[in-house]
């Protein structure tokens, strides 16, 4: 790899041995993918995936302490994924005790984050790119982010340029100020390997469509035709909300870091089919294919007929539109069923920024009356408490389903269960 004089100096130890190792890691990582140079990070803010003080991630916290002790701090402020627990989310005393043990390094880690460059106290969310949070990159910005759902959104919907960096690597990029130039940072790396032809009878559930595409194309770039028929050709709030959930499912059920939606996402609008590689493979998705994918999701509950003890919605964190929309749907469904409150303890997760706005609307009080709790935690990390692994939890998030024992239902099924059936 060819380095500039300044980059070479960092590698040679001009700013100390720890910074030299940071650069060595980035160079070695880039060389695996044939990167010939390092380029400056141009996005205003970073985003970190590690937000939880999981006791057994001690080696990571030790490494971060080394960075702090030797002054290797992030050159840019950053946002960070959500915290793992919240006293407002119902847990029994034993579950609370275990959570404190599992996430025993939370306080230490949050202090580290402040020293390393956390933007502010409201920065803990996986949807940092929403207007309410303010970490919204511009088209063409080079980023050093991790968090699969945020990276795929930044690349696809915002047109920023970011590789699927791992935790630690993303912080190293922000510390050094450079990232290796390969993959999604290059024009060639952003071309599509797959054409996805959507032939469904209606707008598919974003979570299932994303899951189907992720499992099929894995780490490749899909170019999706036919979705603009339902989402339109402008990135409205509704379209962006759909793409948030769609992208998270492609990234967690597969390893998608960038997708193009014909006539909708920025590069697809600008370049059209010129983005598609020669000999791109074709994946046709119809109603039957989506049903096949959904029917294939395993469920590891010991009792498949168990009454759900918790319902989580909001992985990734909900938008303001989703919170208001769900409020109205739940109210209507409860009224229809003759119930006052949800029949399954239900938690909606969202960012502090969105929650503050939501609390200024009439919907906040109305949602509270239905019994739904709104929290800013990461439900995925919350369920890493081993005592929750054996509890029947339901969700309409394909990401949460993938990483935990939560059982997947689509949004219509979830609404029915929490308002009418209770099971």
């Amino acid at each position: 790899m060819e380095l500039t004089r300044e980059q070479q100096a960092l590698l040679d130890g001009a700013k100390g041995p720890t910074m030299a190792k940071v650069m060595k890691t980035l160079v070695q990582y880039g060389e695996v993918f044939g990167a010939e140079k390092m380029v400056p990070v141009t996005g205003e803010y970073g985003h970190l995936v590690l937000s939880f003080g999981l006791t057994f991630l001690g080696p990571v916290f030790d490494l971060y302490q080394k960075l702090i002790d030797e002054g290797c701090l992030s050159g840019q402020k950053f946002t960070c994924d959500p915290r793992p627990y919240d006293k407002n989310v119902p847990q029994n005393p034993l579950q609370k005790t275990v959570a404190k043990a599992v996430f025993g390094k939370q306080a230490r880690y949050e202090k580290q984050l402040e020293k390393l460059g956390l933007l502010n106290e409201d920065s803990y969310t996986c949807t940092c790119y929403l207007d309410e949070i303010g970490n919204t990159p511009k088209e063409g910005d080079v980023l050093s982010w991790a968090e699969s759902s945020a990276v795929v959104y930044a690349n696809s919907v915002l047109g920023a340029r970011c590789n699927r960096n791992s935790g630690i690597i993303e912080l190293f990029g922000s510390v050094a100020g450079y990232v290796p130039y390969f993959g999604f940072l290059t024009d060639e790396g952003r071309r599509a390997d797959w054409i996805v032809e959507l032939k469904t009878s209606k707008l598919p559930d974003a979570q299932i469509l994303g899951s189907a595409i992720g499992m099929k194309v894995m780490e490749d770039v899909p170019y999706v035709k036919g979705l603009d028929k339902y989402l339109g050709t402008e990135l409205t709030d509704e379209a962006k909300t759909y793409l948030k959930d769609f992208g998270a499912a492609t990234a967690s059920n597969g390893a998608v870091g960038l997708y193009h939606i014909e006539n909708l996402t920025p590069e697809a609008k600008a370049q059209g089919e010129a983005l598609i590689r020669e000999n791109a493979k074709v994946y046709v998705i119809d109603d039957a294919e989506l049903q096949r994918v959904k029917d294939g999701y395993p469920c590891v509950w010991k009792d498949l007929n168990a009454k759900p003890k918790m319902c989580f919605l909001g992985c990734p964190h909900m938008t303001l539109e989703q919170l208001t929309d769900w409020t109205q749907k739940i109210e209507a469904a409860l009224k229809e069923a003759g119930n006052d409150k949800v029949l399954v303890p239900t938690v909606f997760t969202t960012s502090q920024g969105v929650l503050k706005k939501f609390n200024q609307t009439v919907y906040a009080g109305r949602l509270a009356k239905t019994g739904v709790i709104v929290s800013c935690i990461c439900p995925l990390m919350f369920m890493d408490n081993p005592l929750w692994q054996h509890e029947p939890v339901i969700t309409s998030s394909n990401k949460l389903r993938t990483y935990t024992t939560a059982r997947f239902y689509d949004n219509a099924e979830i609404l029915n269960i929490i308002t009418k059936e209770g099971k």
Binding site: F33, L54, A146, N165, S166, I168, I169, A255, Y403
Partner: protein, 146 residues
């Protein structure tokens, strides 16, 4: 016995028993309970190839890793905690998350190492089976013995 040659991502020499996944290895989904409960078994319910199988100390044979961008960080911590697979053997080109884990372990671990080889080819993953004895050489040679 069959010999394969791949590209060295992190060099090392090791002999271990194979555990094989022919679908993408979801690092977070597979390894998260290993850290929380000190269990070494894979807990990814979506991967029938390796669900409930022991990964620690094994030669993990895989096409690539998928899923959360915590992947490299978890692999690094696994190496540092002595809970990692003995080596990672990729049939395809390594993905960015696994590469991060392998490089982080290579640069920042004083003693523990996790030899990592990629581009071993589809034939490697078609041939290798659970329980095979795998020997990895520093030059990227992988010997499968059964």
């Amino acid at each position: 016995m069959k010999e394969f040659k791949g590209r060295v991502i992190a060099a090392g020499e090791v002999t271990a028993e194979a555990v094989v996944t022919r679908q993408g290895f979801n690092t977070l989904a597979s390894m998260q309970m290993m850290f929380i409960q000190s269990k070494t078994k894979c807990v990814d319910q979506s991967n029938p190839d390796i669900y409930k199988k022991i990964l620690m100390g094994k030669a993990l044979c895989l096409p690539q890793t998928i899923g959360s961008t915590t992947g490299g960080m978890f692999l690094y911590s696994a190496v540092q905690s002595g809970k990692a697979p003995a080596c990672l053997l990729f049939s395809k080109e390594i993905d960015s998350l696994a590469a991060a884990g392998a490089v982080l372990a290579d640069v920042w671990s004083e003693n523990a190492k996790m030899p990592t080889i990629d581009k071993l080819g589809d034939e490697f993953l078609e041939y290798v089976q659970d329980g095979d004895t795998i020997t990895v050489k520093p030059d990227g040679t992988v010997i499968v013995d059964r």
